[in-house]
Symmetry: C2
Subunit: 648 residues, 2 copies
Amino acid sequence: MQTLVQHPTSFLDAIVAPAELKKLSINELRSLAEEIRSEIVRNLNKTGGHLASNLGIVEITLALHYVFDSPKDQILWDVGHQAYVHKMLTGRRDRFHTLRQFKGISGFIHPQESEHDAFIAGHSSTSVSLAVGMALARDHLEQDHKVIALIGDGGLTGGMALEALNHLGDIQRDVLILLNDNEMSISENVGGISQYMKRIKETYFYKDIKEKITMLEGQLDGMSLTPAVWKLIESVKQEATERIDTPGIVFEKLGINYSGPIDGHDVGAVIEVFQKVKAERVPLIAHLITQKGKGFDPAERDSIKYHGVKKAFSLEPRVEPAADKKPKAKTYSDIFTDTLIELAELEPNLVAITPATAEGSGLVKFGKVYPERFFDVAICEQHGVTMAAGMAKAGLKPVVSIYSTFLQRAMDQVIHDVAIMNLPVVFGIDRGGLVEDGETHQGVFDIAYLRSVPNFTVLAPKDAVELRNMLYTVVKELHGPVAIRFPREEAVNAATEQVGFAKVDFSSWEVEHKGDDEVVILAYGAMVKSSLDALDAMKAGGVNATIINARSVKPLDEATLTRYLNQPNTKIITLEEGCSSGGFGAAVLEFRSRAVYSKPQVRLAEVVGLGVPDRFIEHGNRSILMDEVGLSPAKIASFVIDFVRVRG
Amino acid sequence: MQTLVQHPTSFLDAIVAPAELKKLSINELRSLAEEIRSEIVRNLNKTGGHLASNLGIVEITLALHYVFDSPKDQILWDVGHQAYVHKMLTGRRDRFHTLRQFKGISGFIHPQESEHDAFIAGHSSTSVSLAVGMALARDHLEQDHKVIALIGDGGLTGGMALEALNHLGDIQRDVLILLNDNEMSISENVGGISQYMKRIKETYFYKDIKEKITMLEGQLDGMSLTPAVWKLIESVKQEATERIDTPGIVFEKLGINYSGPIDGHDVGAVIEVFQKVKAERVPLIAHLITQKGKGFDPAERDSIKYHGVKKAFSLEPRVEPAADKKPKAKTYSDIFTDTLIELAELEPNLVAITPATAEGSGLVKFGKVYPERFFDVAICEQHGVTMAAGMAKAGLKPVVSIYSTFLQRAMDQVIHDVAIMNLPVVFGIDRGGLVEDGETHQGVFDIAYLRSVPNFTVLAPKDAVELRNMLYTVVKELHGPVAIRFPREEAVNAATEQVGFAKVDFSSWEVEHKGDDEVVILAYGAMVKSSLDALDAMKAGGVNATIINARSVKPLDEATLTRYLNQPNTKIITLEEGCSSGGFGAAVLEFRSRAVYSKPQVRLAEVVGLGVPDRFIEHGNRSILMDEVGLSPAKIASFVIDFVRVRG
């Protein structure tokens, strides 16, 4: 199974719908599992995708569809990037080669693809809440089916999953929670819960004390003990039975029944447990132990590296993935981490925080250099942000590295704990803008929601050099909260040699290209490069626009804006890789509107904006998506030419 | 203590700083506690405020300041409305009569008031994260002090508190968590954790089994047992000691040491525990049992009613609060709940969800009529919203009642679980706009952040009648997410007799007052009434503005907007009780900007906006605050006259 040997797929070929599964024997399911693993490795070698987690969940998925009846029984997949096997078994095998590609099948759970995808998934820790909601609906509508949440041990550290468990323990509805415990989220797991789960597995011996008392009874059987002594023994035995620590005691204390631990790769054992719990009508957690990367040697050995794979990864064990052979261009994440490592030397109180995205953000490298100043808080964005606020209040300089889409989880903490106190917490907002993953992961709301929060400084660099200098400036100088957002992309000018740092004046934008004064593009972050790339096409269309690097949405460069606004014939265009409602464009319009209020009799230049349209953006290659939403250099050029030449 | 009898305050008079406390004996502390209770009741009778929770925490607060050294030791108060005693003991007694008043002392923890307020508080469940952050900072900076989080059993149900416990259990830093367990948040608590805490108190008997085994050993002592049998007994005893269920086992399993339960009103016992744990250098929860309203009979009997009191509440036991004697004007919350009750009859699948604000939102009344269709999920906004999404997907019509400021906790769930799936979840957004409580509770961001989310409809009614009809329309007709926001205020036209419902067309605004066509006020929600109230002053200033009820920010009434925009000499003014960045005003400016793009050669009317300025707004009476931020009728009139007559 570890190499490219072409396995037969005779069992898999027969599964056109989950019902077919039910005809197989346990041994046949084992063969099917092998076929599936082989096909996943082959397919992901072509498309890239989440490898290790899907290899880890083959048997659980088979057992799920063997015992339960999807879509009548509702299966909620937490995060949903581990549902490839589910997709293959529910009629999407023939489209599997289009995985994560534009207009191809999604890398996550996606109800529009199949009735077997009961709810969207993408972010972590939502499945138990969804299951509780669906179970309450089922009971209210007097329906009869199972609601099943499949969550990882990483997802269980998310606060909302714990809120849901707490509620479920109270209302005691029929919800089955499958805990897929592989001791990992994307990186290694942290937290008391995770260590508790570990101890369940390592030291589990709850039968011992009961067995020992029974043995003791046997030993004492021949003795002439008084009835009172026998009664005492009986009472000790009963209490030991009732009140002794059991492996699932934390769940049981919260009102959730517990079954496990179960070997999640023993398909027969998993089926047996599922069949047993199917008839239960109570909240129940089945604790399944699995191994990420199971059955594919390189992934078993390094499941972090093989969490998500690019195309053409190595299929041989112990060999670096092929993509690693040529030196990779540095991403903004790389520049961010490298800079933090440099700054940490200058600034002894700088600490870095990540909510379980140390790998994706590159911050793992920081953790290796400064283990004592690196905090992975697990999938706990809320806790991470408020913890950073506490650190800042107490004299540290916390830098929170977080994906734009995940910062949505901590909006209240950003407002309530960081901004009201005006604390110097730096947010490095990774994956700001469009990403390959699709609707659930698009980082398009951050500009709009952060700039509406008082005390915030909201920045985006045009390139690697500016990112570096921005970070330096905010770490050295600023006294309130700052967000610096950058896309999931190779950094512009990443190769430029950097020695030392230069301060950046945020309230002063800079001219990137001096064109005509009558067409001015205000470009934010990654849009600087895109508009420079659009220059030739614009010129071909008769427009030589001036391009400004509008590096700060908050504060705005009021002097520059005022100058251009006071030229009534100038056409101003704002460009941003963020939602077109309330973002950078709105900030400039609001500024213009204040200028109108000050001097209503003066005619000002008009401003139009281009951003991500008001709909959720699907998955696919980032440059395809950028074109789709109208933000590719070609589309930018058309937009500008259309405004200036055609209509203007 | 139950009546208005004037108690002496000789002990309290001597406490000018916490250090004075340390000189008192335990008996003197008991007398002090009585003086404090008496003073709180007398004071709140004048100012209003949070009564029951503060009466419940007198002894804990005394013990805190007796044993620890604030501000060196850092005390983090969760929520912070239970810190009145703390305020009285830390130099703010003389200003206590200004509680919650504009420019007076805040009803919450407020670092600007005192160095003894270590961090802002207002929202629930933040204290453990802050304590973890501050403890990490202390250790990094090699300081030596205690970090103490004081959290209620209600706060402990919040996901971020659970995230923080999980992290703390992992990193094992010195943090003391004081769990003030009164079995209540604002309403009664729900959830598995809460029931677990209850069982700790009710059935706690962990010594039994160890004692019984020792008794058994005694009984068997004279017998001629083999060494093997003795060894067996010893081993049973050891396991029973080590592995038996203990009261704090859930915390201990997560790596947090547990001490308790402790009677939180026995000041001597609390001090003893605090002195013992002061020397510990590990994470530890001290579980303190208290009673809300302790020492004041009416509040002990009904701590929900006496959670927050208005001025001049009854000081006599068993008598209704004086304020209840005259019929109260209906608030928007009342109208919302009454309407939901009516609609629930028409719509059997309508269910209502509240995150522990059933009292404040009035929804408790719905719960009495429809207990099976009412879900209080505890202080779990995230879970509540995603649960609603699950319900909607499964065929129910969930209505989530939530305060604007608390919806910030569930932004990701709104986007990820409700909006992407375009599910018909109705959000009744209470306390939209300014509230008495101050910075932490201002509901000013919802318009901006909700309108940037695709698929959302974002509404605000001008009065009670419209709220009623909006709710009817969205419950009957809409197919995607809807937010309806209303202020904490007596409803306009609450007394208007209502029979049946009328549909509202959201994409069509209505003219409230037909004035000159050249000055048009677009007023959102509560601003309709405010601008009508400003009419006379505007007319006196020479402006007879047309006033439009712009009931929907999303969708906009494009036809009306286009008509006014096409009158280049018209002056358009947007009014909103929300942040001026990215809100309703920005929506209109963006629409105007799209019109500019379509026809750059056409001159359009200009738009200016008035909203809540870009700073955090302090506490105080709502009408004072409205004037402070420029949204009182008088200030609105000045703004409009200034724009139209002075500058225009």
